[in-house]
């Protein structure tokens, strides 16, 4: 009887201490459904209690059901024969449980069959599911598809599609990537043309599509013939029929339980979602941001699984007559792993809350246009924060998961390299997290604009104003020092105005930024718990060193790598 929610003290800590007041107010719109729906909350405590209970169900499915099947899912993998994709047995069984528990419409409004959970709770749920089986998240976590239809579809489209997503009757995919359009989605070439009666038809190939075999796909296609930019792209709802063939599925290093499909569209009928030309610049950006946050949460879950196994093994394994955890080289690894997981989790929760508030304000503006003027500035503010924090959370958590899984194998030693233990699976599964939904390098570029424009400073100042850090003075002082180092680096790069130098240091600037934000978030956590003070202290000690050395590098104005890299990588001897 394992419950991956109840047994996770850190998630429970966040559930107790997260400030969800505004999120709940927006999500429940003043508890307007308390009379009309039997399961709508009547007040804030009731909503919080619902979240806790829903996560308990997720935790039970993850711990009791998905986790015991995960190894078999990995070994069996998704298979492809005669044009049809088969999910591993364990995935099918667990998905059936998820549907049976009414968790397939997790964030969807109640009126369409969902349970109206905030994204913050969805992130926790994705983490919990991913700790059991990272592949499973690719079904459970893809609910952003229905969110996209919900946000941009017509009422008729919503009525027709959403209840089927909520019941689990249909699953789907986001079909964006093409053989020649990966990170650069503006170059998507799949054609969308209209018949004389206005029916849209899709022609072309999509590649690397998770669940491409699913019933409903959101397909990005070039609807404006002759264009080459992102503004010629629209998003389409495609319901599977004979006019789309899955040509093959990929043989992958990890997340083998999730089929990654190549889709061939042969004059396949589709319907336009929202407006033409907004496919990439509005809808896909929204869809991708949701998916990025989901991958961040997935990463934390994979890391949590690997850490727990490394911790257990290090306690169990005796060498030189003592448990290996008592050696400094091992306990430092374990400590760094756990601190990194807790820091990433704080950032994922913070980002999720920001996104919840941003989405909530947008919905409120839509429902109550009379209040739009009051909310305008707030909406802009949270939109800025969401655009910055999402790539930060995604890149941090994904890189963290890779490092934690790497170290988890290291702690296991030779057996960690074998299939007898689970850490090698986690290691393989983690490897995709910093690639799909935009690589870490692409996340850095996505975050860079906000960092340079001062959005990070704006948010950090809000933390300074909203929290009384006087009881954690020994933590906040070095944190503030780190912040000043970050701001020195930002202003140096800004004043220099050298685009090449800026891009060269993008990842470093992003890492500095996440270090500083994490330090502030851990200081906030430390206000609630003595142990969290220790976590913050250990994090800040090392982060300070990293931030300082990065600052030195940036201020050194050293162009040697930019100037000389050809010399090294193109020539021999």
């Amino acid at each position: 009887m394992a419950n991956f929610y109840r047994d996770n003290a850190d998630i429970l800590f966040h559930m107790r201490n997260l400030d969800m007041t505004r999120v709940i107010d927006l999500k429940e719109d003043g508890f307007s459904e308390k009379e009309s729906s039997p399961f709508a909350p009547k007040d804030e405590p009731d909503a919080l209690d619902n979240y806790d209970r829903v996560l308990e169900i997720v935790g039970e499915i993850a711990g009791d059901f998905a986790d015991p099947r995960a190894r078999e899912v990995d070994e069996e993998g998704a298979t492809f024969a005669d044009g049809e994709v088969t999910y591993p047995k364990g995935i099918r069984e667990t998905v059936a449980r998820i549907n049976q528990a009414d968790l397939a419409g997790f964030t969807m409004p109640r009126e369409y069959g969902g349970i109206n959970m905030p994204i913050t709770i969805f992130s926790a749920a994705i983490e919990i599911i991913s700790r059991a089986d990272a592949s499973l998240m690719l079904v459970f976590g893809l609910q952003g598809l229905s969110d996209t239809i919900c946000k941009f579809g017509s009422e008729e489209q919503k009525q027709r599609h959403l209840p089927r997503f909520a019941s689990g009757e249909v699953m789907g995919s986001m079909a964006l990537t093409e053989p020649d359009s990966g990170s650069d989605l503006q170059s998507v070439m799949l054609r969308a043309t209209q018949d004389e009666d206005g029916t849209w038809r899709l022609n072309g190939v999509k590649r690397f599509i998770t669940n491409g075999c699913g019933d409903i796909s959101l397909v990005m296609a070039r609807s404006e013939a002759g264009t080459t930019s992102g503004r010629g792209l629209s998003l389409f709802i495609y319901e599977r029929d004979q006019d789309m063939k899955v040509r093959r599925i990929e043989h992958k290093l990890g997340i083998t339980g999730s089929p990654t499909c190549e889709m061939q569209f042969n004059n396949a009928k589709a319907e336009l979602l929202g407006k033409r030309k907004l496919g990439l610049i509005k809808y896909t950006i929204y869809l991708m941001n949701g998916a990025r946050l989901a991958v961040a949460a997935q990463s934390v879950g994979i890391a949590e699984a690997a850490y727990r196994k490394a911790y257990a093994y290090a306690n169990d394994r005796t060498q030189f007559k003592q448990p290996i955890r008592d050696f400094a080289v091992i306990y430092e690894m374990l400590t760094d792993m756990k601190v990194a997981i807790e820091a990433s989790r704080s950032l994922v929760f913070e980002t999720s809350r920001i996104v919840d508030i941003k989405e909530g304000i947008e919905e409120r503006v839509e429902k109550h246009p009379d209040r739009a003027a009051d909310l305008k500035d707030d909406l802009k503010r949270y939109t800025r924060f969401a655009s910055l924090f999402t790539p930060l959370a995604k890149s941090l958590a994904a890189e963290m998961a890779n490092k934690v899984c790497y170290d988890a194998i290291q702690i296991h030693g030779g057996v960690g390299f074998t299939k007898e233990f689970d850490v090698e699976r986690h290691y393989r599964d983690a490897r995709i997290t910093n690639i799909y939904e935009g690589t870490t390098q692409l996340q850095a570029l996505a975050a860079l604009g906000g960092i340079i424009a001062g959005v990070v400073s704006e948010r950090l100042s809000e933390y300074e104003e909203s929290f009384n850090f006087s009881t954690v003075a020994e933590l906040i002082k070095p944190t503030q020092k780190m912040r000043s180092h970050l701001e020195m680096a930002i202003s140096y790069i800004k004043e220099k105005g050298d685009a090449v130098y800026q891009e060269f240091h993008a990842t470093r600037l992003v890492n500095m930024t996440t270090d500083v934000i994490n330090a502030y978030l851990l200081c906030q956590n430390a206000l609630h718990s003595e142990r969290k003070k220790t976590v913050a202290k250990l994090f800040i000690t090392k982060a300070n060193l990293r931030v300082k050395s990065t600052l030195d590098y940036i201020l050194a104005n050293d162009h040697s790598l930019i100037d000389l890299h050809d010399e090294v990588i193109d020539k021999e001897v």
């Binding site: 009887m1 399961f39 619902n50 829903v54 169900i57 039970e60 449980r97 009414d102």
Partner: protein, 289 residues
């Protein structure tokens, strides 16, 4: 059409998480010191009932006898899809052994009225007697199919099941009504349903007196219960003498914590005399005979 299914469920101490003060000095269970859970095999029984309902239609009514907080296991039944739940609770039911328990449950089942199948967990993890199910069947004078590890077929009149027996299994078919006791290997119980949890988490229980005669089984399966029914001795027309401690012939004489430990094996001479000596010893020790 559809089958009327009754499931008996019990709230039990979590014997897998026993702490030091699990037993009082007088040898009875210190319930306060133990977390309570849904008896595992009762969850298997509920799961079978829900699966039968999904197949044939009908309704599932869950009954539990226990103290007021046993209402929690009944809510767990609602969370998983039970249509109606009834708590049998009265101080006069306290201290019941299997005989008094099965008597009270039988009275409650008679009060419910129509049923096709009664499903019980094979046994509860606190007493491990596996007696209550069979006793209910005897008292109701209906067929009993015990230790069921699978239901292989069900139609509107009969059920076919796989029974675990000592050296294998047997396939048995019975007409309705019948009582089944279900083992832990029969299925993997479903988790709670999120919507139902949020719907039912705050409902209370309501004492129903003897004149309470509404239809216990909601005709509309979408109907939402707003309370858990609570029945006392009078509500189920039970004889107080046959309930609780006064209706329980079982007396606990002594409870002993037996710790089994490995020891040296003993060679028995491979002769008639050796075997006779061993058998004699086993009879002496009350191990056989």
């Amino acid at each position: 059409m559809g089958l009327q299914l009754i499931v008996t469920v019990k709230q039990v101490p979590d014997t897998h998480n026993v702490s030091g003060d699990a037993m009082k000095d007088d040898g009875t269970v210190n319930r306060a010191a133990l977390p309570t859970i849904f008896n595992p095999e009762d969850l298997n029984a509920l799961e079978e009932a829900l699966q039968i309902k999904e197949l044939t239609g009908g309704s599932v009514t869950c009954i539990s006898m226990g103290p007021p907080n046993a209402v929690e296991v009944l809510k767990e039944c609602l969370y998983r899809g039970a249509d109606d739940v009834i708590l049998i609770s009265d101080r006069r039911f306290a201290g019941a052994d299997t005989l008094a328990t099965s008597y009270a449950l039988k009275c409650a089942i008679e009060r419910v009225g129509e049923y096709d199948l009664i499903l019980c967990g094979r046994q509860a993890i606190d007493g491990d007697t596996a007696q209550v199910g069979p006793q209910i069947a005897e008292k109701l004078n209906i067929n009993q199919l015990t230790c069921i590890s699978a239901i292989t077929a069900v139609d509107e009149e009969s059920i076919t099941v796989k029974r675990s027996v000592e050296d294998g299994y047997e396939i048995v078919k019975s007409q309705f009504p019948a009582l089944l006791t279900i083992t832990g290997t029969a299925n993997e119980p479903r988790p709670a349903n999120a919507k139902k949890v949020m719907t039912y988490k705050n409902i209370g229980k309501e004492m129903c007196n003897t004149s309470y005669d509404e239809s216990y089984i909601a005709s509309d399966s979408c109907a939402i219960l707003n309370h858990v029914k609570e029945w006392n001795v009078e509500a189920i027309s039970a004889d107080p003498e046959q309930c609780g401690l006064s209706g329980s012939p079982t007396k606990v004489k002594k409870i002993q914590s037996v710790v089994l430990s490995a020891c040296e094996s003993r060679q028995v001479a491979n002769s008639d005399a050796g075997v006779a000596e061993l058998i004699h010893e086993l009879i002496e020790e009350n191990i056989i005979g």
